[in-house]
């Protein structure tokens, strides 16, 4: 079974009046992290999900990735329920986490191979693909290094390579560059957006940085607390600097509320 051999078509995402409540002591209703969110993301879009800490970005992210079940409403990715049809998404969704989450007992190469290995890609083929991705991300020569021997930026590159190697149609990224220095983060951001566009993926990118959202997103969705869409704007190549400045000011206003 070589799921990753062929590129998965990009996948659309729909949230239909989605609410997520967590149990809270002394409250029957619980803590509402996401409140009746309606959202549609087209296949191939690169969406930056922006909001203050604790606004429910990660909760939406976990529901889309199938790790959390919504309390109300429906989450649908390519027409399937990511929580109840968890296995259907095998090889179709890849996640880049906030911290690199590399397995310490595996080398950089073995970490990149992980997803392919779980998808049953033959050893030779997965090794070739993993080597290729490491090389593309500037890690040639570090294939056999263990994570502890790599710098923070290099480790995050390995985790990006791991996500891209499976050739999944949907990429979910949870503030993947927030722990890096500005120079490294900028370079990785550029490489990351180029890779997403080049490989025609749908990508949802969680961030709390306005600059990052403007640099990466085709579309920026700003969330207020509890997660509710407060501002939704689309950008394209024609969006000029002046327009971007206006968007930046509007986002700041929304976040200040």
């Amino acid at each position: 079974m070589s799921v990753a051999a062929a590129a998965d078509p990009a996948m659309g995402i729909t949230l239909d009046k989605v609410t997520k409540r967590f149990p809270k002591r002394g409250s029957d209703e619980g803590f509402v992290a996401v409140d009746r969110v309606d959202l549609h993301i087209d296949p191939g879009d690169m969406v930056a999900l922006l909001g203050k800490t604790g606004c429910g970005k990660s909760t939406i992210f976990n529901m889309v990735s199938g790790l959390l079940e919504p309390s109300e409403g429906k989450v649908s990715v390519a027409g399937h329920d990511p929580f109840h049809e968890f296995d259907w998404f095998r090889g179709k969704v890849a996640i880049v986490f906030q911290n690199d989450r590399l397995l310490p007992w595996r080398t950089a190469l073995q970490n990149v191979e992980l997803g392919l290995e779980l998808l049953g890609v033959p050893h030779e083929e997965r090794r070739k693909q993993a080597m290729d991705w490491l090389s593309r991300l500037g890690l040639k020569g570090h294939e056999h290094d263990y994570p502890h021997a790599l710098s923070g930026g290099m480790r995050q590159r390995v985790s990006i390579a791991r996500a891209f190697a499976t050739n999944a149609g949907l990429l979910l990224c949870d503030e993947p560059f927030s722990a890096l220095d500005e120079m490294t983060a900028n370079r990785l951001r550029e490489e990351f957006s180029a890779l997403v566009r080049e490989n025609r993926k749908t990508a949802v990118f969680i961030t709390h940085s306005i600059n990052e959202a403007l640099q990466i997103g085709d579309r920026i969705i700003v969330l207020e607390r509890p997660a509710k869409i407060a501002y939704d704007v689309r950008l394209d190549r024609a969006t000029g600097e002046a327009e971007k400045e206006a968007i930046r000011d509007r986002i700041k206003e929304v976040l200040a509320l």
């Binding site: 969704v93 989450r101 007992w105």
Partner: protein, 257 residues
């Protein structure tokens, strides 16, 4: 590392034993052989046991009992640890029982086994399992609970099968604690098996020690004891070698070099 440091390390690891041997040998000049036999006689007996298959079979029987008991406790402890980790109810129910078992002296288990069971081998197996089960279970449940949730979630995001999850995540994560548990329990098991054989067996190191006691043969008692000590040392060394190979990914602080 300089040769002086290596020589110094060897000296300090051997020196205490050399001093102990010298004191014993000195005592053997002044006391009768049934109290302090010459170490030459002791090591002659050690050699005789090793080369005489009729006697060495007793060493093998004891080694077999230790390994069978430890393996039984390891499998049962592993199952209990998984159940306790999955269900807080099972944990609440089993933990106090295992703690209670830990308070029961090994000799009491020997008495219970003699009263309850007829077969010698089963009695010894039962004693070995009951005395090492709590430690194995607690160490394994500790390892499962300490497993990184972040890494677990990362592997889960690739939608692995249960077997894949066990092979790629759970086993490498808990292996350090499993090997430590084996090291600790090996020493305990070597002590307990002698007690069990002393009371209820017709062969093995414990049985042979009983014979030496009845003959007031201190050289024989020491020679049989050394067989068990050698077994423990060799097995510990094998486990250490496995650890060195399996955990070669671990970072080493330069200050400890």
């Amino acid at each position: 590392m300089g040769s002086t440091i290596i020589l110094s390390r060897i000296f300090w690891s051997v020196a205490p034993f050399l001093l102990l041997a010298a004191l014993w040998q000195f005592a053997s000049l002044w006391f009768p052989p049934f109290l302090f036999p010459s170490l030459v006689d002791v090591f002659r007996r050690v050699f005789q046991i090793l080369v005489d298959l009729g006697q060495f079979v007793d060493v093998l029987a004891t080694v077999g009992r230790i390994l069978a008991g430890l393996f039984g406790a390891f499998v049962l402890g592993g199952l209990l640890a998984v159940l306790m980790n999955r269900s807080p109810g099972v944990d609440r129910f089993i933990s106090p029982i295992l703690t209670f078992f830990q308070g029961i002296p090994a000799l009491s288990w020997v008495v219970f086994a003699i009263i309850w069971f007829h077969g010698i081998e089963f009695r010894i197996f039962f004693i070995m399992v009951m005395t090492t089960l709590p430690a194995f279970t607690f160490q394994m449940i500790g390892a499962l609970q300490a497993m990184s949730k972040d890494l677990f979630e990362m592997v889960l995001s690739f939608r692995p099968t249960r077997l894949q999850m066990f092979r790629t995540m759970v086993l490498p994560a808990v292996l350090p604690e499993i090997l430590t548990a084996w090291k600790v329990n090996l020493g305990n098991a070597a002590r307990v098996v002698v007690v069990a054989e002393l009371v209820g067996a017709t062969g093995g190191v414990g049985y042979q020690l009983l014979q030496q006691q009845q003959l007031f043969d201190m050289a024989g008692a020491l020679a049989w004891t050394f067989q068990l000590v050698f077994f423990v040392l060799i097995t510990q060394q094998i486990i250490t070698m496995i650890e060195r190979y399996a955990f070669r990914y671990r970072a080493v602080s330069e200050r400890s070099l």
